[in-house]
């Protein structure tokens, strides 16, 4: 599992500073919620962690983001490897313009996974699986023996892991665009998991979803946190209370307060945090 540290991270678009001097450690194997009012730099913070911020021409990054001991803004960084390690879920799910099956296969395929690698992945996954998700085990056991169908089984595995399999198993070759938006978000989760990340970044992953789908996503996150470091941006305080182990509070581009969720919500130290939690500012 990866360890993420931000050191004096400052990000601006043109002349406008969006994040100022952020220094924080993100705990491994937990769900970290980044909260704060709209426009406080939450999404920018998230997109700086997998260098998706590079796509914005005007963005200027100073300071360091250290993942597994390496500053990812070092010019020698392999961005593709970084993005493979750090998966991303966007606010509104975007199915790739292809079938459900091909959406999941997209990542493994571009990273050139061959039969032997799939085999090794399957063996590794088998060890990881916890007992509370018994449906995953038989898939992997089957996958060990049926070499010609390994990719199919891997797709099945990730769809099950994201809680989508039962809804789509009969139309894997149908277009992903025809799924409901809640299903699309779980497809996006499965697709992100299929590239074998260690970290999952999620940018308000439930804000476009109906309550039932949102609940499903939250449930998946809680289930996944055992094996992944998860960073969720949210503007829903109650969501942060429900799922977060650790909370980072940003206000106007500044890191106001961070700490374990229990402590953060019960006894905030900063006046602004208190005001935000109590709903005086939003």
């Amino acid at each position: 599992m990866s360890h993420i540290s931000l050191r004096n991270l400052t990000i601006g678009y043109g002349n406008e500073q969006v994040l100022r001097d952020i220094t924080v450690d993100i705990p491994d194997g937990q769900i970290t919620a980044v909260i704060g009012p709209s426009g406080c730099g939450k999404t920018t913070l998230l997109k700086s962690l997998n260098r998706l911020i590079d796509l914005y021409e005007q963005a200027k990054v100073e300071g360091q983001v250290i993942i597994d001991g390496m500053n990812i803004y070092d010019p020698r960084t392999d961005i593709l490897a970084l993005r493979k390690k750090v998966g991303f879920l966007s606010q509104k799910p975007y199915p790739l313009p292809m079938s459900i099956y091909d959406n999941i296969r997209f990542g493994p395929k571009i990273h050139g996974m061959n039969g032997e690698q799939i085999q090794r992945r399957i063996a590794a996954l088998e060890k990881q699986i916890s007992l509370d998700e018994p449906s995953l085990k038989p898939v992997l056991q089957k996958a060990r023996f049926k070499k010609d169908r390994q990719m199919e089984l891997l797709v099945e595995y990730y769809l099950r892991l994201a809680g989508l399999w039962n809804e789509v198993k009969d139309r894997l070759n149908g277009p992903a665009s025809q799924l409901s938006i809640g299903q699309q978000q779980r497809l996006a989760l499965a697709r992100a998991l299929a590239i074998e990340p260690e970290v999952i970044l999620a940018d308000e992953p439930t804000s476009a979803l109906d309550p039932i789908s949102a609940q499903l996503i939250e449930k998946q996150f809680k289930f996944l946190k055992e094996n992944y470091t998860i960073v969720v941006v949210t503007h829903i305080l109650r969501q942060a209370r429900r799922i977060a182990d650790y909370v980072i509070f940003l206000y106007m581009g500044e890191l106001v307060e961070h700490g374990p969720a229990g402590q953060f919500f019960s006894s905030p130290r900063d006046e602004r945090t208190r005001a935000y939690i109590s709903g005086e500012i939003s």
């Binding site: 997998n50 998706l52 796509l55 021409e57 593709l80 490897a81 993005r83 493979k84 998966g87 991303f88 966007s90 606010q91 509104k92 975007y94 199915p95 790739l96 313009p97 292809m98 079938s99 997209f106 990542g107 571009i110 990273h111 277009p175 992903a176 665009s177 025809q178 699309q184 996006a188 697709r191 992100a192 590239i195």
Partner: protein, 268 residues
């Protein structure tokens, strides 16, 4: 609202009606499969096979050529590949080329061919038509690619794909309905254009056997044959107009169907 709809519909129906009434009576199998006998301008026998085949050769060749150049140009104009000012200049240039009257392409093609000592030929016609079609195709495809949501590209990049992979596997497929429409739009413009092929492709009673033979085309078949005093020759003109109209109608409908089919995978 109703007035504008009915005006547009009346115009379309009027054109179809007039051309069909004049052309349908002369449209028979021999009209479709025979070339004119005794010269297209005077001969009373034969059909318009020379023009049908010629037009298809010309516009299919030019569509292929335009696509081979146009698609890469359309992608190259995106901000992933080209800086803003350079791509804007290219867009402006394409827009000017789009608006250039086709007779200018014909004249330009003619000058160039004279310079190189070439005579009117299928190849010359294809090249002149390509000049006409390239801006149309490139600009319409480029516009569609530019509309691809940034978030979709982010999704692809976030999975660790390279710029080329994102371009070929995601952007191309997302833009596919629009690309299809762009191709067929350009094809429709090309097959109906008379002026650009007038000097460059020439006109002939025969079906060309090589790229260097002159070639007939449907728009010129109308142009040369409609104003003669001989009724049989006029028949060929109306038949050509009808065939041309049918091809263009078919292409429009086909392009709608195709683009709907390709849209299955797309979320906007």
């Amino acid at each position: 609202m109703i007035a504008s709809v009915s005006m547009v519909l009346a115009l379309l129906i009027g054109i179809i009606l007039v051309i069909t009434l004049r052309g349908a009576s002369s449209l028979n199998l021999s009209m479709l499969i025979q070339t004119p006998k005794g010269g297209y301008y005077l001969g009373k026998e034969g059909g318009i096979a020379n023009a049908i085949v010629g037009s298809l050769y010309l516009s299919l060749g030019a569509t292929l050529l335009s696509f081979l150049f146009g698609l890469p140009i359309a992608f190259a104009l995106q901000k992933e590949y080209t800086g803003r000012s350079l791509s804007n200049i290219t867009r402006l240039a394409l827009d000017i080329l789009w608006g250039t009257p086709s007779i200018v392409y014909g004249a330009f093609g003619f000058v160039v061919m004279v310079y190189f000592g070439l005579r009117a030929s299928l190849l010359g016609g294809i090249i002149a038509l390509t000049l006409l079609m390239l801006p149309i195709m490139t600009r319409s495809i480029e516009e569609v690619i530019r509309m691809i949501p940034l978030e979709l590209k982010e999704t692809s990049y976030a999975l660790g794909s390279t710029r080329i992979e994102t371009t070929l596997k995601v952007m191309f497929r997302q833009a596919l309905p629009g690309i299809t429409t762009g191709i067929l739009l350009a094809f429709g413009r090309g097959i109906g254009d008379a002026a650009s092929v007038l000097f460059t492709a020439g006109y002939t009673d025969h079906i060309p056997r090589s790229l260097f033979d002159p070639v007939a085309s449907l728009p010129l078949a109308v142009f040369f044959q409609v104003a003669t005093p001989i009724p049989e020759v006029q028949q060929r003109a109306y038949a050509s107009a009808l065939i041309l109209l049918m091809i263009v109608l078919f292409v429009s409908i086909f392009s709608r169907l195709l683009s709907r089919r390709f849209s299955r995978h797309i979320v906007r």
